[in-house]
């Protein structure tokens, strides 16, 4: 019996090796090198065999694991323990996380690079939380979420550069515009579900991007929008030398000028925006509309029979999810000071969906962990340049193998009765 299992998994892993060979052979094995005039092919079979060997070994270990369920016990017990910790002590965990995020800019090892990465991770956490409303709670697979991110960014950029309004006025406006586009997308897809919904949302994301490229008069096409105003600290700009009769952040507080001030301010800005998103989601889950989203995800017909209006429920999910995407977009625009359609390609949507799915659909903490993991890994491997996408893919494969339902797949109930704690 056991021997059979081993032979079977060995055969299976050899087959995996064959597939790996077919994939890596041409992609990695044949390298084109330009020498003088023309390209020459240099084979690199050593690396190919190494990679194929790794695939065979990995597959074999996974097979043995699933057959015996003992090999990786330490891993699964670790992760289940971890899930327990996060469930039992969710509050402590969250508070520690937030405290760490608050003091992070002032830790001794924190430099400009860490701050930039942290801001990026927080942006993705916010996007993940926003999309979690649509995908995790309402169960509507949206592959075009980047469209709302783009709408938010462009609304902010256009309003701020045209009218010169401040960030704090443009931010809610950008959210409103994005929510409007969310409803715009929501209407045609009301009847769609699953794969079909995914395809249409995917298309919607592309439509927005193509409009941004081609509507030259308004969006400045592929050249993008430059000179987007930076946010000010409640009216105090972050400038080295403020204009005549105007105070800037460092003169007002009597500090030495440093570019880090602005970075730290941006960091706290996105931290607050992300926490607002989270707080909002946690609260709305306990309200009828939030509960209706989750019910809709579970069973649409049952919802109808109970008097839930699926049209309104879906539209609010799209609109509110889009609104947070729009907020994140306007943050992105003010941080970059320059936006172009290139920042809003499909890969962005894919990353955000990956964060939500790998985090465990509907889990707020899962989104945080998945963002740190996925964005962090691609950052760590930044030196590998184009190969860092392989690290990204590898990270996704690892999560899917060990935690197929996402890092934190447990749904927390919205109501706990007194005395039912256990």
């Amino acid at each position: 019996m056991e021997k059979q299992d081993i032979i079977k998994s060995f055969k299976d892993s050899l087959f995996t090796g064959l597939i790996a060979l077919a994939l890596f052979g041409p992609i990695v094995g044949l390298r084109t090198v330009s020498k003088g005039e023309g390209l020459f092919i240099t084979p690199q079979w050593g690396i190919v065999f190494l990679l194929v060997g790794l695939c065979i070994l990995g597959r074999f270990l996974i097979n043995i694991n699933s057959a015996k369920k003992t090999e990786f016990k330490f891993l699964s017990s670790f992760s289940s323990k971890f899930a327990h910790i996060t469930e039992d002590k969710a509050k402590h965990f969250a508070i520690t996380g937030i405290l760490f995020a608050v003091v992070f800019p002032f830790l001794p090892f924190t430099d400009r690079y860490f701050m930039d990465v942290a801001i990026m991770i927080l942006t993705y956490i916010m996007l993940g939380w926003g999309l979690n409303i649509v995908v995790g709670l309402a169960g509507l697979l949206d592959l075009g979420y980047v469209a709302f991110y783009a709408v938010g960014a462009y609304s902010y950029a256009l309003i701020a550069t045209t009218f010169g309004w401040s960030f704090w006025i443009c931010l809610p406006l950008a959210g409103v515009f994005a929510a409007f586009f969310g409803i715009l997308l929501g209407f045609p897809v009301l009847r769609l579900r699953g794969d079909y919904l995914a395809i249409v949302t995917l298309g919607f994301g592309e439509i927005i991007r193509i409009i941004l490229i081609n509507w030259y008069e308004v969006t400045n096409g592929p050249d993008g929008i430059t000179g987007i105003p930076r946010p000010s600290f409640f009216g105090l700009p972050f400038k080295r030398s403020p204009d005549e009769g105007e105070a800037s952040f460092h003169t007002f507080f009597g500090l030495e000028y440093s570019t880090m001030h602005r970075i730290i301010f941006l960091y706290y800005l996105i931290l607050v925006l992300a926490l607002i998103t989270n707080y909002f989601t946690l609260k709305i889950r306990k309200l009828p509309v939030g509960r209706a989203w989750e019910a809709l995800r579970e069973d649409e017909i049952a919802c109808k029979s109970l008097g839930v209006n699926p049209t309104n429920t879906k539209l609010t999910a799209f609109a509110i999810g889009a609104m947070f995407g729009g907020f994140a977009g306007s943050f992105f625009a003010t941080r970059q000071a320059f936006i172009s359609p290139e920042s809003f390609t499909f890969i962005e949507s894919a990353i955000i969906v990956a964060i939500v799915v790998l985090g465990g659909m509907g889990s707020q903490t899962g989104v945080v962990l998945a963002s740190i993991f996925l964005i962090g890994i691609t950052e760590i491997f930044r030196d590998l340049e184009q190969f860092r996408m392989i690290a990204f893919g590898g990270a996704m494969v690892l999560i899917m193998v060990f935690k197929p339902k996402g890092i934190l797949a447990n749904r927390k109930p919205t109501i706990l009765m007194h005395g039912d704690k256990k």
Binding site: P288, R291, K304, S305, M417
Partner: protein
């Protein structure tokens, strides 16, 4: 109270209901029996507004409802327990019940309403923090009925409450249906394949064949009807 007149419902080109006439009076238990594919569930979905009737009309207390949205029909006081229970399986029992009282208007007396449901089905009270999907079939059926009761219906539409449930629990569920009718004054329109049980419970009953009502009468009359015994009661049962 609920009056269905000459209703015809189609799925695309296929006609599922061929002119159905049914009356349900206030306070009654009315059963509709029929075999697979007779159109029983289609009729309930048409009453609930999920499927639209192409011809005919449905009135509830004199108001035409055949063109209303499903959620408006629930607001009027017609709630359905759909076939196969359709519990929100990842939500807890209590959350399921809360969804029954979805609209604010109906959530007003939430605490007393939920207590009524727990009194009716004590097992749900023991399991209120459990996920719906972890309940047994019978418990899920109780939850589905309880969830519908949370919307304070005047008419409860039940679609095959005995489907896939242990016989012992079926008796219990039918007893609770009777209880809901008598104690809470909820009119019941029951659709069943378990003809014997449904007819025993019913004040009046209808038989639906190929989208048409063929026989109607009191529950007792139909139990004794030779044709029905042959077709639905397996030639008459012993007990």
């Amino acid at each position: 109270m609920l009056k269905i007149t000459n209703v015809e419902t189609f799925y695309g080109k296929i006609q599922a209901l061929r002119g159905v006439d049914i009356d349900v009076n206030d306070g009654e238990i009315v059963s509709l029996i029929g075999s697979n594919g007779a159109g029983k569930s289609t009729l309930l979905m048409t009453i609930s507004g999920v499927n639209k009737a192409r011809n005919g009309n449905i009135t509830f207390n004199g108001e035409r409802i055949e063109n209303r949205e499903p959620h408006k029909i629930v607001d009027l006081g017609i709630c359905q327990v759909p076939e196969g229970r359709r519990i929100f399986s990842r939500l807890t029992v209590e959350e399921n019940l809360r969804l029954g009282a979805f609209t604010n208007e109906k959530g007003k007396h939430f605490e007393t309403d939920i207590k009524d449901v727990y009194d009716l089905f004590p097992v749900l009270s023991d399991r209120k923090t459990q996920r719906g999907g972890t309940l047994s079939g019978g418990e899920q059926q109780m939850l589905a009925i309880g969830r519908a009761l949370m919307s304070k219906p005047k008419v409860l539409l039940l679609d095959e409450p005995s489907l896939g449930i242990a016989p012992k629990l079926v008796n219990q569920i039918f007893a609770s249906i009777k209880n809901i009718n008598k104690e809470k004054n909820v009119t019941i329109f029951l659709v069943e394949q378990n003809a014997k049980k449904a007819l025993e419970l019913a004040d009046r009953a209808y038989v639906l064949v190929n989208g048409k009502v063929t026989i109607m009468g009191s529950g007792q009359e139909l139990l004794k009807n030779k044709d029905i015994q042959a077709a639905y009661l397996e030639g008459g049962t012993k007990n």
